[in-house]
């Protein structure tokens, strides 16, 4: 079937009922899980870390579910459908980043921490300033990322389910994530992420098989088609383009001389930032020990790697089967491909999966933000590490989750016409420039101290935010008539040439941490290094799973 009539159908359909029912089915299932999680779990470690009884493969699926956002699923497929190879190159960093997690961060963190990344820092450094800064950085990363996800959800619904209002969708997503986190805690969040990962992987596998079967399972036919994608040139004449050739996004051109350097800079933020993302790091506290944490990263790497390789099939499939000229918006490439190859039902399934994806990611962000606020800021900074009443920390976390959710709904509705795509880049940049340096230095450098940690967190955070604000992501002069969602927030020529600040902000974060350390001496911190080293490398004294 040719795609054109299908597109007309998509534009005229008021509400896609099949998609709506499938999505409601997912919601019902997750609510049942939340109900059982709420009944089963009691106690602090049950709420924040699912009792540390999640198994390796379960946690691997949950990490994958926590990590693979709608931006990867729809965004990368769309980028490849419109720009070919450069989208594929872009997807690589999202997997390779897990080597940093596996080799450097996951096991020491699981061995030496309790609920948050700040636990590891607070071991030998002065707990209150370090936790306060770490909590600030965690909340910044989580809320930025969350707003980007929720605005994305609203934008997605306009495309997939025209007829359902933006405010309704954003509020619905927000209320559901609050319910999962407030009532079900980490256990419910984990299972929402596991189910989402299974749905996303099966949808992607099925769609990839449909694409390959379209080319009679012949890779040479597939790649020949990719080498001849019909696109309209600047002069309006249709011509074929080789979509396997690099350079359409990150190529060096007169208009964009910084393209390749921007990609390197993004790579630095991804490779360093993934190992500093609070919602990924908290997942390692849900397993019984460091060995299981390691196994779970390997599971996650297998799933995430397969997912991105298949995403390229979806992107190239959309480019060759639908052709870019027949896709109205980049993000619609994968869902429209599903419609063209698998019909209305499969389109509905893929749309429901996209929403499940958003829900799982925002639930993970909410629980990591509320854990950090309750555990780091409330209990340890304000109350000097003591609960005044039993169960207080969990109660504070629940209230925080509610507040964070409500603020996110409000901001996502307020910001619906604003281009917030840069917030995801900002979240990764802060994670790489503020969180990663202090985690790595506190585990591996004996001399590291409180001043260094506070300086590293502070400057890393500040440098990322300032550089993003003066970058072309936020600053730029638009031609009159640019759509609101694509407009630059500040109408002024950009003062920093790269969209991704990582190449400057990550070295700055490390430098600030090192200089801050060298300026002061902290014998107490150095003395405790032996203990941290033994804990991190042997698992002696690590937090254990709670018995059934």
């Amino acid at each position: 079937m040719s795609p054109a009539p299908l597109l007309a159908l998509a534009a005229s359909a008021p509400v896609n009922h099949t998609a709506l029912f499938m999505f409601l089915g997912f919601v019902a299932l997750t609510l049942v899980i939340t109900y059982y999680s709420a009944r089963r779990s009691s106690g602090t470690s049950a709420y924040f870390a699912a009792g540390r009884r999640i198994t390796g493969w379960q946690n691997g699926l949950a990490i994958a579910g926590d990590y693979m956002s709608a931006a990867s699923f729809l965004g990368i497929a769309g980028m490849i459908a419109f720009k070919g190879y450069d989208g594929f190159m872009y997807s690589v960093g999202w997997l390779v980043a897990y080597l940093t997690v596996l080799l450097i961060v996951a096991e020491p963190l699981r061995n030496a921490g309790k609920y948050t990344m700040a636990d590891v820092l607070a071991y030998r450094l002065s707990p209150r300033p370090v936790r306060a800064m770490a909590s600030l950085s965690t909340l910044t990363v989580s809320t930025f990322y969350m707003i980007a996800q929720m605005v994305g959800a609203g934008a997605l619904v306009k495309l997939l389910l025209p007829g359902v209002g933006y405010e309704w969708v954003v509020s619905g997503v927000g209320v559901l994530m609050i319910i999962y986190v407030v009532f079900g805690g980490m256990l419910a969040t984990t299972w929402v992420q596991i189910i989402k990962a299974v749905l996303l992987m099966s949808g992607t596998i099925f769609l990839s098989l449909l694409v390959l079967s379209h080319f009679d399972f012949s890779f040479s036919k597939f790649f020949d088609a990719i080498a001849h994608v019909p696109v309209k040139g600047a002069d309006g004449v249709m011509a074929t383009k080789d979509f396997l050739q690099p350079g359409l996004v990150f190529g060096r051109t007169a208009a964009n001389p910084w393209g390749p350097l921007d990609l390197v800079s993004l790579g630095i933020a991804l490779i360093g930032g993934t190992a500093g993302l609070p919602h990924i790091l908290v997942r390692f506290y849900t397993v019984p020990d460091a060995r299981t944490a390691r196994v779970s990263v390997v599971w996650a790497m297998i799933l995430i790697g397969l997912f991105y390789i298949m995403t390229t099939f979806l992107g190239f499939g959309a480019a060759t089967i639908l052709t870019p000229g027949n896709i109205p918006v980049e993000n619609m490439s994968a869902p429209l491909l599903a419609k063209a190859l698998g019909g209305e039902i499969f389109f509905a399934f893929i749309s429901a999966v996209a929403f499940a994806t958003i829900l799982a990611v925002v639930a993970g962000l909410t629980i990591s933000a509320s854990t950090s606020f309750a555990h780091d800021f409330f209990t340890n900074v304000i109350h000097h590490g003591r609960e005044h009443r039993p169960g207080e920390e969990v109660r504070v976390a629940r209230i925080t989750a509610f507040v964070v959710g409500a603020v996110a709904i409000f901001l996502a509705i307020k910001l619906q016409t604003i281009n917030v795509a840069f917030l995801v880049g900002l979240a990764f940049a802060v994670a790489a420039s503020a969180n990663l340096p202090v985690i790595v230095l506190s585990i591996f450098w004996k001399r590291f101290n409180t001043t260094g940690a506070v300086a590293g967190l502070g400057f890393g955070l500040l440098a990322s935010i300032v550089l993003i604000i003066i970058s072309p992501s936020v600053m730029g002069i638009d031609v009159p008539g640019t759509a609101a969602s694509a407009r630059h927030l500040i109408q002024h020529a950009a003062m920093f040439p790269l969209k991704n600040p990582g190449i400057v902000s990550v070295p700055l974060g490390f430098l600030a941490a090192v200089i801050g350390t060298l300026l002061t001496k902290e014998p107490a911190a150095e003395k405790l290094f032996a203990e941290l080293e033994v804990r991190a490398n042997t698992g002696l004294g690590a937090e254990k799973a709670t018995p059934h």
Partner: protein
């Protein structure tokens, strides 16, 4: 298979023990598996373990794998955007029905899996070393 937390020690007293009556209930020291992290902090001689030659050897072994592996994967990863960005003609060279750029990007996925595989094999050995070390310190 030893774990970081051995079972509670046999309550039967040794022949030369100061008392022949095993502690009842919660009066005695908690067995290691019941200690919380903060109680454990005082019960373990961290400095002695840290200074132990076997532990230093374990750290050296880990560094000897992790540092080169990290340098390797960073170099391999950043080679892709650098080669594509600054040497596009080399990367556009066709190989069969694909090109060098595509094969290189695809190889990144296998590189990540292979490095992870090597790490898991190495880490299983480190687990054994750590367990043996802790057993020597009665933990």
């Amino acid at each position: 298979m030893s774990s970081p937390d051995p079972l509670p020690s046999d309550p039967t007293p040794e022949s030369a023990a100061p008392t022949d009556i095993a502690p009842i209930g919660r009066a005695g020291a908690k067995p290691p598996h019941e200690r919380t992290a903060s109680e454990e902090a005082g019960a373990i001689n961290w400095d002695a373990i840290d200074a132990d030659p076997d532990f230093r050897g374990l750290l050296r072994d880990k560094a000897r794998f992790i540092i080169p592996a990290t340098v390797f994967f960073l170099a391999y990863y950043f080679a892709l955007p650098i080669l594509v960005g600054w040497f596009p003609d080399l990367m556009k060279h066709r190989v069969g029905s694909v090109n060098v750029a595509y094969l290189f990007a695809l190889s990144e996925f296998f590189m990540a899996w292979i490095v992870a595989g090597f790490y898991v094999v190495k880490a299983a050995g480190w687990d054994k070393t750590a367990a043996a070390l802790l057993a020597r310190f009665n933990h």
